[in-house]
Each structure stands twice: as structure tokens, then as C-alpha cells.
């Protein structure tokens, strides 16, 4: 089978080829410049972060052997040969794990309620006054940008050691994060129901309650569940600074080289995070179907 491809006359072709060549060259130049800038920034960062490849390669073996060591009991046997010995502290750890879950639950719920109260003031379309929106937005931004564990460090000094500081830190951080997401849901809400309610002479509160809330509530619950999952991770390290939960045990085990304890606690945490992950995913699917996926 033969076929013919029509070829343009050469003067036309030359002009097109020239233009194509130029376009490609321009693109290549931009990519090359970007790469150079990135490499320069990385080199600068490597100096700033005191990267020492010699140390890294000398001790890299330690990183992998660390995982070998945490999988061994004190007597040198593999951990799974003696479950009783490996999880010797399971009563204590389960209790602390429960505490961790409670910290994240109470923190998330408090944060979600606060975010719910604030989000109507932060959304562009429902805020009663521009200055109020500005103030609430800056507040939420502050609560979200300062890391939870920094709040925990300060709260431990103000409220004393213990889970209370962790709960409050998580609550404040969640308020900031959820407040932003909640207000974005409200901004995406359809304003026609609001007009309808408003035209009946309803107050601002009634407008929010009967026109905005029914549209937004599924989104709120979905984001709050997602936040709960993130907060379980967060709460598992709150103990590092003395703010309750299983982190306290973990940091002691890592610092004091109780190898098999490290693996036991880590496995407990990772499994819990898995279970929470799957459970909240299932719950979100059940409650809101496909629409909450986005």
C-alpha cells in the first residue's frame, strides 16, 4: 500500500521550520535557566543546612540497622518470636493511646465548633462588615500558621503539664485550619436561598440558619472528619513536649534506646492511624456519598 504525504514548497517550509526551531529553543532556554536557579538554590540550602555527605554515607547504614535493631528484643531474638515480651507494656500503651484519641477528639470538636461560629464572619458573601471579616481572617490565619506544637509548648507553661495543654493546642490549630475551609464552603454556597429568606424580612442569623447552613453542613462534617484524622497524628507527638498522649512514652523509648519498645509503640500508632483513616473515609462516604469526595 502506498500513500503520499503532501509536502509544502521549500520556502514556506523553511519559514515554518525556523519558527518551530525558535519556539523550541526559547522553551529549552527557559527550562535551562530554571534548572540553574534551582541548583543554585539547592547548593545554597545545602550549605545552610550543614549537609555533610560524608557523615551521611558513613552513618547511612545506621539508619537501616536502626530498623533492624528495633525489631530485636533485649536478648537478641526477633520481636515476633515473643509477643508477650515485645508488647510487655500494652496495658499502659493502650491507655495512653486512648488518651491520644480523646485529645484529638475533644480538640477537633472544640476547634470545629469555634470554626463554625467564626466562619460566617470570615466568608466574603455573608460577613456583616468588612472590618469584622478582616479581623476574623487574620485571627484564623494566625491560629493556622503557628504550628500546634508551639501552642502546646506555651500552653504547657500556662496550664501545666498534661493532656489539657495538648487539647487546647489542637483546638486552636484546628480552629484556624477549619475556619478557612468552612468559610470557603460558605463562599461557594448558592446565594439565591439567602435572598429568598431575606425577602421574608428575616434577620442575619435566620439567613445563615435557614439558607446557608443546609448547603454547607455536609461539607463542614466532611472537613471536620478529615481534620480528626490529621489531629490523631498530631496528638501522637504532643507528648514530646509534655502535652499528654502516647508521645511521651515514645520519646523516652527513642532517647533511651529501648529498641523493642520503639517498634511496639510505632506499630501501635501506625495501626491506629490506619484504622482511623479507613473509618473516617468510610464514614464520609456513608454520610455524604460522592459529592464529599472533591
Amino acid at each position: 500500500m502506498t500513500s503520499a504525504v503532501a509536502i509544502l514548497p521549500s520556502p514556506q517550509l523553511a519559514a515554518l521550520n525556523e519558527a518551530y526551531r525558535k519556539a523550541v529553543a526559547r522553551k529549552r532556554l527557559r527550562i535551562a535557566l530554571g534548572t540553574v536557579a534551582l541548583v543554585a538554590a539547592l547548593a545554597l540550602a545545602a550549605i545552610g543546612a550543614e549537609v555533610n555527605l560524608k557523615t551521611f554515607f558513613t552513618y547511612l547504614g545506621n539508619f537501616f540497622s536502626y530498623f533492624d535493631r528495633i525489631m530485636k528484643l533485649d536478648d537478641g531474638a526477633r520481636v515476633w518470636t515473643n509477643f508477650g515480651e515485645w508488647f510487655w507494656g500494652w496495658r499502659k500503651w493502650l491507655k495512653l493511646l486512648g488518651e491520644t484519641l480523646l485529645i484529638s477528639y475533644v480538640g477537633t470538636l472544640t476547634g470545629a465548633v469555634l470554626a463554625f461560629l467564626l466562619n460566617f464572619f470570615a466568608a466574603e458573601n455573608t460577613s456583616p462588615a468588612p472590618w469584622l471579616r478582616f479581623v476574623v481572617r487574620r485571627l484564623l490565619e494566625f491560629a493556622r500558621t503557628v504550628p500546634g506544637i508551639v501552642f502546646a509548648l506555651i500552653f504547657v507553661i500556662a496550664f501545666g503539664l498534661g493532656p489539657m495543654a495538648g487539647v487546647l493546642a489542637i483546638a486552636i490549630h484546628s480552629t484556624g485550619a477549619l475556619g478557612k475551609l468552612f468559610s470557603e464552603i460558605v463562599e461557594n454556597a448558592d446565594m439565591k436561598p439567602v435572598e429568598g429568606v431575606r425577602s421574608t424580612g428575616a434577620s442575619w442569623v435566620s439567613c445563615m440558619r435557614f439558607a446557608v447552613l443546609p448547603q454547607a453542613i455536609a461539607g463542614y462534617a466532611s472537613y471536620a472528619l478529615l481534620r480528626f484524622e490529621i489531629n490523631v497524628r498530631e496528638a501522637s507527638v504532643m507528648g514530646f513536649v509534655g502535652a499528654g498522649g502516647i508521645g511521651q512514652e515514645l520519646v523516652v523509648a527513642i532517647r533511651k534506646f529501648y529498641y523493642s519498645d520503639v517498634s511496639a509503640i510505632l506499630i501501635t500508632i501506625v495501626l491506629t492511624v490506619f484504622v482511623i483513616d479507613i473509618a473516617t473515609g468510610w464514614l464520609r462516604g456513608r454520610l455524604f456519598g460522592q459529592e464529599a469526595e472533591t
Binding site: 545552610g48 550543614e50 539508619f63 480523646l102 501506625v270
Partner: protein, 281 residues
């Protein structure tokens, strides 16, 4: 104009009972869930040692601390803090880049349109377990390996982001269009050609956007890993909180806020330049 007869409520009720009488399970579900949620909340408050007096005293203390924080003042340590901030930004940039470089090849093995499920499933679970461990824990582990300092922070961020990137990248690959890949195959390309010319041009912009977003969020993570001794501004912050130098603490927090806002702005601009407006939104 046609005449519509007025509806008779009794007749309607008889015809559509399910609209008027929802089953008890549906009517009771919401209040039951609410009561249960509230009960767990109260149990939590009691179990976690909340008491009005403690809360009140703590708030009182917190008020004092806030007063003591004003005005923010670095004292004589400003150069030290600026260096620490530079360290933090370096940690974020290097850690994220390393993570992205490691995750790109692995993510191919976690995408169902590249490898069969037999390979995909264990790779996914492996990435999940890495993600399940917090950055701070990785930092502690790396401190055991390479010693205290920012380098441990870089490695901690690299490892924990590796898990997140692996998942995100593989999702981007799974969402890619099959048609380009089929085109490459039809013209006789090998499997590697398919990935290089059919897949990568589609997923690279998405990946670049995600990496830039992570640099921003890692600036936040990098500020806290110093608390366990892995370098950066968090080290200074934790120290000043422990010695109750509140003016320095507030200055450091302010520095973090400004740095995060700056990185946010820069990465937003870069994302805009790389992938255009639609992906920024």
C-alpha cells in the same frame, strides 16, 4: 387558566405516608449521634483532667504571658535568629526536593495503570506506613543516626514527605489520559518511551504544583522539628520558651509568620508561572 383543586391533606397523607411519617430510625438518628458525640466529649473533658479552676488559672497565666510578650524584641540575638531562619528555609527546600526525587520513580510502582495490583498494593501500604509516622518521630530517628543538627531535619522531612509524595504522584499518574500513551505504543515505543513521552508531559505540571505547595507547608514543619533538636528556628523557639524569654518568643513567632507568608507568596507565583491559572485555584 386551568383550575387546580386545593390539595386535601388527609388524602395526601394517606397516599404518601413516607413523606409525612419518617421511620423512627431516621428521625432519631441525628439527635442520637449528637448526644453520643456530646457524651464522648464530656467523658473526654473529665478523663483529661479539665476543670473550670484549671482552665481559669491557665487563662489568667496566658493573659500574663501575652502581656509579657509585648513588644516583640529579639534582644541582641537577631543575627543568630536570622541564621536559624535561613537554616529552616534550607531544610524545607532540600527536604522537599530530595523527597520529590525519591518519590517520582517509586510512584510509578504505586499507579494501577503502570503496574499490576500485586506490586501496587504492597508499595501503597509501604508508603502509607511511612506517612503514618509523624515528621517529628522521623527527626528523632535521624538524630540517632546523623547526630543533632539541621541535616537530621532535612532527612526527616525527606522521608516523611516521600510517603506523601509517593501517594500524590501515583494518583496524578492514575488520573493521566491513556490516549497519549496508546499513541506512543502505536508508533512502536517501548514501555519506557510510553512513560517518558506519553505520561510525564501530562503529570509533571501537576507534580510541580504539588511540590511547590509542599515546600510551603514544609516551611511550617521545618519550624517545629527544631523542638526535638533537628536544627532551624524551632530550636531557638523551644529554648526561649523554656527560659521564659517571652519577648524573644513573640519575635520568633512573628519571624515564622512572615517567613511562611513570604514562601506562600513566592510559591503561589511560581505555581502560577508553571501551570497557569486553572491549577492554582
Amino acid at each position: 387558566m386551568s383550575h387546580v383543586p386545593a390539595p386535601d391533606p388527609a388524602q395526601l397523607r394517606a397516599r404518601y405516608p413516607q413523606v409525612f411519617d419518617r421511620p423512627a430510625s431516621a428521625r432519631l438518628a441525628t439527635p442520637l449521634v449528637a448526644i453520643l458525640a456530646f457524651a464522648i466529649f464530656v467523658f473526654g473533658l473529665v478523663d483529661l483532667d479539665f476543670s473550670p479552676t484549671r482552665l481559669f488559672n491557665g487563662l489568667h497565666q496566658l493573659g500574663w504571658i501575652t502581656l509579657l510578650m509585648l513588644p516583640p524584641d529579639p534582644g541582641a540575638s537577631l543575627p543568630l535568629y536570622l541564621k536559624a531562619l535561613g537554616e529552616t528555609l534550607s531544610i524545607a527546600l532540600l527536604g522537599t526536593t530530595l523527597a520529590a526525587l525519591m518519590a517520582l520513580p517509586i510512584s510509578l510502582f504505586a499507579a494501577h495503570n503502570i503496574v499490576p495490583n500485586v506490586i501496587r498494593f504492597p508499595v501503597r501500604r509501604f508508603l502509607d506506613s511511612i506517612r503514618g509516622v509523624d515528621t517529628l518521630i522521623w527527626a528523632l530517628v535521624w538524630i540517632n543516626v546523623v547526630g543533632l543538627g539541621p541535616f537530621a531535619g532535612v532527612l526527616a522531612i525527606a522521608v516523611s514527605d516521600f510517603g506523601a509524595f509517593g501517594k500524590l504522584f501515583s494518583e496524578a499518574i492514575e488520573a493521566a489520559d491513556r490516549k497519549q500513551v496508546e499513541g506512543i505504543r502505536a508508533s512502536g515505543g517501548s514501555a519506557l518511551h510510553e512513560i517518558r513521552f506519553g505520561l510525564m508531559p501530562q503529570v509533571l505540571p501537576v507534580i510541580a504544583g504539588q511540590v511547590l505547595y509542599f515546600i510551603e507547608s514544609n516551611t511550617r514543619s521545618a519550624t517545629i522539628i527544631g523542638i526535638v533538636g533537628a536544627g532551624g528556628i524551632g530550636l531557638q523557639l523551644a529554648e526561649q520558651i523554656r527560659v521564659l524569654e517571652w519577648q524573644k518568643v513573640s519575635f520568633l513567632i512573628l519571624m515564622i509568620l512572615v517567613a511562611v507568608a513570604a514562601i506562600d507568596w513566592i510559591s503561589g507565583r511560581l505555581r502560577f508561572a508553571i501551570i497557569g491559572r486553572r491549577a492554582v485555584a
